[in-house]
Subunit: 196 residues, 2 copies
């Protein structure tokens, strides 16, 4: 067995670094997640980390992009909803809430919160976040099978995504699963009625 | 004119400290908002700050309580909604979104995000946050003039408060006022239909 080509090893290292960065941000927070800390956690030398990402900002931004692509992939991999009406809407809303929340949200929240108090970081985070938000909106429209050229439909989809972010935030300190189930049910019923 | 009694001066200093802490958290973020930084910003000596709050945690928690009471007061001071139906619901949802968002949210977000990665801080923040969430729910029920012993009504009010938190989060990096107006309108229409 030959060892994998250098380029593949480099790609695998990069991938591992980004995933460790996301995990460190979500678990240990913004302040603790320095290059040295992430390097130690990923078992990669600081020099090798700096070879891939010359600055902490470059590493964090690449991790943010990776997070956003992972979330988009989660949505793309949702099973094609069957049927129409309330069951479909409920399944799609549940899928959206799951894809927007969880560890990816926890990590992204650390970066967004730091960016709220750091104009330089904000300037690079805002376009990424916008691009991601548009991607999620497009996927929500496709999954719901609706036409969002109607401004009322568009606003309802936006509201659903804001609700999903609010639910993700409500889950960061305690397990909010039980309450969230009721909230998703209640909103899905209204959304299905409005879209039908 | 005599100078104010010592107790009043002490109360005024405490109040100024808490308000400066909220402003520093919202503007400068968690990491920067140390006791030394907040003391300098408020023009109060570090010794005097430590007389009121022996630790950074004590100061931050008092600021969090102060934030939560300020938000509750915002809701209590909303004009009694007139009429019934969609206009009332729209006015109440707008009031809730305003009271939950803004600088108070920005400051609270810094604390909640730090608490997400710090079990000791989380242990003291969670009961405070719960107490505040219950207070907002009760005020929303009163303002909407509904009966939340109906589980479906209860879940819709919860959904509205989650939406408000999601909208507050969407506003931390850029001015989201325009989009938010459409979202509140769309949501209020559905909520009014569901509650009537």
């Amino acid at each position: 067995m030959t060892s994998p080509p250098k380029q593949d090893r480099s790609r695998a290292t990069r991938q591992r670094l980004l995933e460790t960065t996301i995990h460190c941000l979500a678990t240990d927070g913004w302040e603790v997640s320095t290059v040295a800390f992430i390097a130690a956690r990923s078992g990669i030398s600081r020099g090798a980390v700096q070879h891939h990402f010359p600055t902490r900002e470059a590493l964090i931004l690449a991790a943010l992009e990776h997070m956003f692509s992972s979330r988009a992939a989660l949505l793309d991999n949702l099973p094609e909803p069957t049927g129409t009406g309330p069951e479909r809407v409920h399944a799609v809303v549940t899928g959206l809430v799951d894809a927007i929340g969880g560890e990816l949200f926890q990590a992204a929240l650390q970066v967004l919160t730091a960016a709220a108090a750091d104009p330089d970081l904000r300037a690079v985070v805002v376009p990424l976040e916008r691009h991601f938000a548009r991607g999620v909106h497009t996927r929500a429209v496709r999954l719901l099978g609706v036409d969002d050229t109607d401004p009322a439909v568009r606003a309802l989809i936006q509201a659903t995504l804001d609700l999903a972010r609010g639910l993700a935030l409500a889950n960061i300190l305690t397990d909010d699963t039980r309450r969230r189930t009721h909230v998703i049910q209640a909103w899905s019923t209204q959304l299905a009625a409005a879209l039908s």
